[in-house]
Amino acid sequence: MRGNAAASIRGTIVAPLAGLQKRSELSRRAFLAHDEAVRVADSVTLRSQRLDGVTQENERLRRLLGLGAAVKWGFVPAEALQGRGLGDEFTVTLTAGRRAGVEPLSPVVAPEGLVGMVERVDDGLSLAITWPHPDFRVSAMALDGSAFGIVTAHLAPGAARYFLELRSVPLRSTLKPGALVVSSGLGGVYPRGIPIGSVVAELKSTEGWARSYLVRPAVRLPDIASVLILRPERVRAGVENVWQLGSATDSATKGVVAAGDSVRAARPDTARRLP
C-alpha cells in the first residue's frame, strides 16, 4: 500500500522533478569527469606526439648514420640549434666549432642534401647560413650535367620565399619539372654531387640570355636536427659517390638509409643502445 502510494506519486507529480534530479546528477558526474577525461586525452595526445617525434628523430638519426658511413671521413657531426626567433630564420647554430676542426666556408649537409655553409666559427660553436639566406649561392647543375647555373634563395614574398632559384642557365638548356639539381663543384666551396633540390617550373627571367628555374629544396629546414660539416680536405676529395643519386631524390635517401641499416647490422651492440 505504502509502496503503491509512493509509486503513484513518483509516476505523476514527482516524475518531472525526478527527471530533473536525474539530469542534474548526470550533469554533475559529467562535470566531475570532464577534467579527468581532458587530462587523459591530453596525456594520450602528448604521448602520441612524443612517439611520433621519437620515430621521426630515430629515422633521421639512421639516415645521418648512413650519411656518415657513406662519407666515411673528413666530416664533423654537429647538432643544429635553430633559434626560430627574429633574425634567426636563415641561420643555424651548430654545436661544433674550431676545436672540432670546423672552418669557415665549410658545407653543411644532411641526409637529404645541402643545408648551407658555415659562416662564422667560434671555439665550440659555429654559425651557418642556410639555403633561404639572401647571401646563399651555390654553383649547381642538373644531375645529368645538361645544364649549369647558380642556385640562390628565391626572394619572393610569402611562402614562395622558401623555394630556391636556379639562375643563369643557358637558353639552349631546358629542364623539366622534377629534374634533380645538385652542386656542380665549381667554385671550390661545395663539392660536386650534393643534392640541392628539384625543378618545379621555369621562371620568367629578366636576363634575356639565360633561363631561371624555381627549385624545391631537398632539405626541409624545420626537420634539421643533426648535420655533418664537411672539412676542406673532404671537399677537395669530392663526395660524388656519397649520395647515390639515381633519377630521384628518393633513391638517394634510400641509399643513405640502407647504408645506415648496414652499419647498424654490422654493430649489433650499437643497435641495442638505440632508443
Binding site: 505504502r2 509502496g3 502510494a5 509512493a6 509509486a7 506519486i9 513518483r10 507529480i13 514527482v14 522533478l17 525526478a18 530533473l20 534530479q21 539530469r23 542534474s24 546528477e25 550533469s27 554533475r28 562535470f31
Partner: protein
C-alpha cells in the same frame, strides 16, 4: 496578498522546489541545502498553521515518493515543521535577519531530527552523529540560503504578516 503577489509567491515556491531537484544534486554537498524546507517556511510564515501543515504534508509526501524506504517520515516531519513554524511566526519573523536565520536553522534541524527518528533507519551512534553534526551543518547551509531567498523575495512579496 493580492493576485500578483500570490503569483510571485507561487513562482518562488516552485522555483525552490525545482532548485531542490536540480541544484542540490549538482552541488552534492555532504551537508546539503534543503530548498523544500525553505519553501515550506516561506509558506508557513504567510499562512495559518493548518494550511502550513497541509503544505508541509504535500511537500513531504512528494519528497518521500523518491525514498520509499522512509515513506511518510518526510511528510510527518514537514507537517510538524510547517505547523510549528506557522504557529511561531509571530515570535520569530520580526524584521530581524539573525532571528530569521535562526528560524530557518531550527526549522531544518527539527525536520531532520523528526525525519531521522520516524525513519528508524539510522540508529545509535550514527543517529547521534547525524543529528548533532551533519544535520546542524545542513541546517546552517539551509539557513544561509534561506536568508538569501528571504532578502531576495522581500521587495516583491513584502514582509510576512504577524
Amino acid at each position: 496578498m493580492n493576485a500578483v503577489k500570490s503569483a510571485w509567491f507561487a513562482l518562488v515556491v516552485v522555483l525552490l522546489v525545482v532548485l531542490h531537484y536540480s541544484l542540490r544534486p549538482v552541488l552534492a554537498w555532504r551537508a546539503p541545502i534543503d530548498f523544500l524546507v525553505i519553501a515550506l517556511l516561506l509558506v508557513a510564515v504567510r499562512a495559518r498553521p493548518g494550511v502550513a501543515a497541509l503544505a508541509g504534508f504535500m511537500l513531504g509526501i512528494m519528497a518521500d515518493s523518491l525514498t520509499p524506504g522512509a515513506f511518510g517520515a518526510g511528510a510527518l516531519a514537514m507537517t510538524a515543521v510547517g505547523f510549528g513554524a506557522s504557529w511561531l511566526k509571530a515570535a520569530f519573523f520580526a524584521d530581524n535577519i539573525a532571528l530569521n536565520g535562526i528560524f530557518v536553522l531550527l526549522g531544518k534541524w527539527a525536520f531532520d531530527i523528526i525525519f531521522l527518528v520516524a525513519e528508524r533507519r539510522v540508529l545509535g551512534t550514527d543517529l547521534l552523529v547525524q543529528a548533532v553534526l551533519w544535520s546542524p551543518l545542513s541546517a546552517a547551509a539551509t539557513a544561509i540560503m534561506g536568508l538569501v531567498v528571504l532578502l531576495a523575495v522581500r521587495p516583491v512579496l513584502g514582509a510576512p504578516r504577524s
